[in-house]
């Protein structure tokens, strides 16, 4: 009966084994991901890199800025503000009354070409203080209806310009209803300057957003007349003024393409514009401008980008210089452990 003496170590090992529960018994899988030991690149902001970066930015930005500025300066732009001038002086204290009356609103303007302008010359009308992005306005359209002949009744979001007694309005909604209706005619030396109004809208809009078989119906036939009327025999996809207008602008100041003049204009040419000043911007004191402009690879005349590039580039250059100076005057060893607060002698300072 009296066999070997039990040893504490045996008992210890036995119980230790049994303690290890099953779920924990297998070792976790080793991978560099699970151990958070993936090889990593750990950049730090050394003066060399930061000053280099700023220099590089300035070196890149200043030329781009100069080029952009030149591109913008190359664009020739004629802007003529006409909303006040086109009202007879006697009637200027009641502009709204004038615009809503039935008088003739034809108006003559003369523009001088400051520089040679290469064709194509884009004719824009510019509206200021016109909120095409207003919440009530921007949603007031029915893309379904514009696209499909079958969706005539789809006037849900168009209120209040959705239906008349004669049925649904096509195109419905406030945007279409308020279509711009000033017209411009150009003559140079008493010669008609043709304005090409084809292809002023986006191709994709003509082909996919405005249906070939959708025709205006009941348009501007309500009690309240908005802007232009549309020829009910021309399909929407060919009503390019409407298509342009319905690309709503994001800003209250915007230009919309009216047409293209496809001849070159010479410096000091005088251009006579015969315009029909129909559109009411007077009730909200909006401005109307006629713009003739060439274009560059960056678009129209816009100095902002060039100036911004030059500013940022210059600023970066300046910062690089300042950092370099600080670095030279007051060099500081990175990672000096004596700066660590717990290595500092608290009473030493």
């Amino acid at each position: 009966m009296n066999s070997g003496t039990p040893s504490s170590s045996a008992a210890g090992a036995g119980s230790a084994d049994s303690i290890a529960p099953r779920r924990n018994s297998k070792r976790p899988k080793y991978s560099r991901f699970t151990q958070q030991e993936l090889p990593a690149c750990k950049p730090i902001l050394t003066p060399k890199w930061v000053i280099g970066t700023f220099l590089l930015v300035s070196v890149i930005f200043i030329p781009i800025g100069v080029v952009s500025l030149f591109a913008s300066r190359d664009v020739v732009e004629i802007v003529d503000r006409y909303e006040t001038e086109c009202i007879p002086e006697t009637l200027r204290n009641d502009k709204v009354g004038f615009i809503q009356s039935d008088r003739s609103k034809t108006c003559q303007r003369t523009l001088r070409v400051p520089k040679n302008m290469k064709q194509p010359i884009y004719v824009y009308y510019q509206l200021d203080n016109f909120y095409q992005n207003h919440r009530r306005y921007v949603k007031s359209r029915s893309d379904q209806q514009l696209r499909n002949n079958g969706s005539l009744q789809d006037t849900g979001p168009c209120k209040p310009e959705d239906n008349t007694a004669g049925g649904p309005i096509v195109p419905c909604g406030l945007i279409a209803w308020s279509l711009f209706n000033d017209t411009y005619g150009f003559t140079r030396n008493n010669q008609q300057l043709d304005v090409n109004k084809k292809g002023i809208s986006w191709k994709s809009d003509r082909e996919h957003k405005f249906g070939k078989n959708v025709f205006p119906r009941n348009f501007q036939s309500g009690t309240l007349k908005g802007g232009a009327t549309l020829n009910p025999n021309v399909s929407l996809s060919e009503q390019e003024d409407l298509i342009v207008w319905m690309r709503t602008a994001a800003l209250p100041t915007f230009r919309k393409l009216y047409g293209k003049i496809e001849v070159d204009l010479q410096r000091d040419d005088l251009i006579n514009v015969t315009l029909e000043n129909n559109y009411n911007t007077y009730s909200f004191s909006g401005k109307k401008k006629l713009v003739l402009s060439t274009t560059s690879w960056l678009g129209g005349k816009n100095d902002f980008v060039g100036i911004a590039y030059l500013t940022v580039g210059g600023l970066c250059f300046f910062l690089a210089l300042v950092f370099l100076l600080i670095y030279l005057i007051k060099p500081r060893q990175l990672g000096d452990p004596s700066y660590l607060s717990w290595n500092r002698n608290p009473s030493g300072h």
């Binding site: 009966m1 009296n2 066999s3 003496t5 039990p6 040893s7 008992a11 119980s15 230790a16 049994s18 303690i19 290890a20 070792r27 976790p28 899988k29 699970t34 958070q36 090889p39 990593a40 750990k42 730090i44 902001l45 952009s68 824009y124 909120y131 992005n133 207003h134 919440r135 009530r136 306005y137 921007v138 893309d143 310009e161 406030l174 308020s178 908005g226 994001a250 800003l251 209250p252 915007f254 230009r255 909200f284 678009g299 816009n302 902002f304 940022v312 600023l315 970066c316 910062l319 950092f323 500081r332 990175l334 990672g335 000096d336 452990p337 660590l340 607060s341 717990w342 290595n343 608290p346």
Partner: protein, 1096 residues
Amino acid sequence: MKRYVYINDDNLAKDIYCDNRISNRKYTILNFLPKNLWEQFSRFMNQYFLLIACLQLWSLITPVNPASTWGPLILIFAVSSSKEAWDDYNRYLLDKKANEKEIWIVRQGIRKLIQAQDICIGNIVWLRENDEVPCDLLLLGTADPQGFCYVETAALDGETDLKTRSIPSACMGIDVDLLHKIKGVIECPSPNKDIRRFDANMRLFPPFLDNDIFPLTIKNTLLQSCYLRNTEWACGVAVYTGNQTKLGMCRGIAEPKLTAVDAMIDKLTGAVFVFQIVVVIVLGIAGNVFKDKQGRKLWYVQYPKEGPWYELLVIPLRFELLCSIMIPISIKVSLDLAKSLYAKFIDWDVEMVDPETGIRSNAANQAISEDLGQVEYILTDKTGTLTENKMIFKRCCISGRFYGNESGDALTDAQLLNAASTGSADVILFLKVMAICNTVIPVRSKSGTISYKALSQDEEALVCASARLRMVLENKNGNILDINFNASPMQYEVLDTLEFTSDRKRMSVVVRECQSGELFILSKGADETILPLTYSGQQVRTFAEAVEQYAQMGLRTLCLAWRKLEEDEYQEWTSMFKEANSTLVDRERRVAEVCQRLERDFEILGVAAIEDRLQEGVPETIEILRKAGINFWMLTGDKMSTAIQIALSCNFVSPEPKGQILIIDGKTEDEVCRSLDRVLLTTRITESESKQDVAFVVDGWALEIALKHYRKPFTELAILSRTAICCRVTPSQKAQLVELLKLCDYRTLAIGDGGNDVRMIQQADIGVGISGREGLQAARAADYSIGKFRFLKRLILVHGRYSYNRTAFLSQYSFYKSFLICFIQIFFSFISGVSGTSLFNTVSLMAYNVFYTSVPVLFSVLDKDLSERTVMQHPQILFDCQSGRLLNPSTFAGWFGRSLFHAIVVFVITIHSYAFEKSVMEEVAMVAVSGCIWLQAFVVALETNSFTIFQHLAIWGNLVGFYAINWIVSSIPTSGMYTIMFRLCEQPSYWITMILIVATGMCPVLALKYLRYTYRPSRINLLQQSERLGGPILSSGIIEPKSRSSLDKDIPTDSVYEPLLSESPSATRRSAGPTQRLDSVQSQSPPHSTHTRKDN
């Protein structure tokens, strides 16, 4: 409330009590949807999003398609409810498996096989070896003639040793066949969760026995989910079934813990909400004013003359919807994902696997990893946590003779061996007590070696030691013990066991020597409970000195005592004992009273000293964590001198010239009060010098008084002192101390390994359990379980710190990107007639939050600002996390400022470079969105400290993804964005604008960051620099005791140059401890009179 169980009565019980169907399910199929939705919507954020989503259904005010909110909302809800549903389904499957398991029971006197769920109260259940117990049973019979059986209770309490269970004496000797017909009534308490107690009575009906009432204890039960082991069969009567079993009652849903970071995010969210409301009100008023002054003149808008009554509300509500993106809907999902990955990293960590046992670290609570990085106080248990809990008998003192003093090991002490073999009476008696007075079960393996299964490590150590000294406990057969001393067998019958409780702190057995028939009571226990019980003549001074001497070496001591009993004294006592044992109410106290009657007039035999070695790496771990600014409190049940000794040996307190140990003691209120005042005074003075390392020591009794009557000074002391040692404390006192520190707004971490630590672990902000030798109870209750104490430093310094840093970035970044897009919307409203137009379309808005900006930042969970090695070398860096320097209102303001700046950059550049003829709504919107995406990619890149391949993929791949998605959307003719993205990408001005936005947005941020990084570097920056430039990484290695006042002083000076960027450090979450200046104190008497303990 009581419950009466009629054994084997098929008719009675069915209706009254539930059947044995177990259900752990939270939901049923019917109530899943409403209940789950209700739970999700009880969170503020979800309510907010639901409100927004509902408002969006009103087409008059919605700026974009409701899908932009409903989409993500439904997605988020679907994800979390399908997770819940999946978990619940798995629970259902497990339940089903348990419920349909086939069980033998007795019905109408015949054994039948039924499903476990059909067991009723009163049924007799038969189990075979290795069967799982299907419900709580009262044992009636076993295969063992003595009526014993063995169970494994690991599933219940985590203890892996086998426990003996015995049948009630009433059922002893009943034949197997008769067991089918047994009838009777059991009177037991209503279902409760106490797995240690079952205070019940049983009465068997004739013909089995007369009307005698038999007491029942937990020893007579087989509880649900235990396993029957080493016993051929057992049968019992079901007393609790279904979800009313002890296990079922124990199941509870733990209160979810909220981390400091979460609380901060909630607070910031609240602030953002208020800000949003302000913006909405301002814009709403502006919008209504604009409408009346200007809007009515805009004929093309056709404002109606008279609007409906709610007209004034329309514009503010529109802005509310526009601004609703200010609170990012994705933040919760992102954080949840990140948190579960942190937890996984802990689970996966190979460096936190115990090499000895293979136990892995486990994060049971996935949600609180960030808190680990913000721990300020660690409250630790001693035994099994700091020490190995591997008890080894080292020294003893028998009748005044010290053994083992020279060699350090009594078992190799020739004198003791000699005394044992020659049969010195004192020594033999001492060894007998060691071998008999315990509850150890000897298990003989096939090879004939004996191993011991013991609940208490001390007992195992004693029995093993006595075996080495030739007093071998060979067999335990029911009540009969076989002892083999010097090859001569002896037999003892154990008559009664007076069990160990933490109040009594001793245990005794009454035994009868089988040959002579003599009766003894043998007892062992803590010195203060044994030494006062001696007979009047005995000198206990030598024993007290021995105890003191051993304790100073850090050994655990047990006093062994005995007394001879007279037969009639015993008979008289045993009936009282039986009666006390069968009381239903307050049984424990009454039993203790009765035990006291027998435990008197002892003769002290000697003192046994047991060593419990420190775990590997404990001193280094504590030193590193103390350097990291974490304060340590040791809470132990051991005696003061042992505790102090352990504290010194594991760097709790610096050695003498620097460290100082102050003792609070006293038996009465006055004494404690005076002692406390003295200690407080000394602490204040040394604290002001901040050179000294002061620790205070308090024992359980003084602590009780201090907590009850002098809470305020004690709290102040707790705040001032970095270290405390609390000895002789009970589990509830441990929990009280945690509560005290939590009330002072400190982040506490409690670490322990035993059942007595469970309350403290649950109470603390973070509970860490050590899966140790005392079972898994603590590890189960804990949020994190680790195998060894030394893993704590990695858990805190590596996992906690990274988690905090990552979450700080992730959450603030989420707000940054939401603000960015929201500010652009707000700016846009000023040029759109304050009418509440959304610049962005539905697709962009939805994808921006859910996709474009969430993916890159999610990979910041892989970011490491410093390497693990650097952190370990400079644990002081944890300060920045503790004081919340990376996430607080001021850093948040930095991110807010950055988003405002970036919004201005994007907006101004966009509307100027896309002016006039280019000002097409859709194009401008896409330019602005692309600008945001580019900027955020660079922001993430700038804020990333280490780029792994994943980060590169996420950041730059996300840009590619952005364009891919938009090209796809742009090629759908019916979408509003048709052709837009293609047109833009063809224009040189688009790309030039993007470059401009990035440069303008990033250059100032980079410049500021560089200046701060180089000329006002934070500690993290300094370490990054020295780590990556390969410079000298020096650490003076001095533990600088940082007083809180000096820490608070640092903060304002640092925060001056922190306007925009992320790491601004004016965290004053800490409610600065009472830092009344000490001038008044110093004028008083010098602290020489204080109770200063000189430690050797």
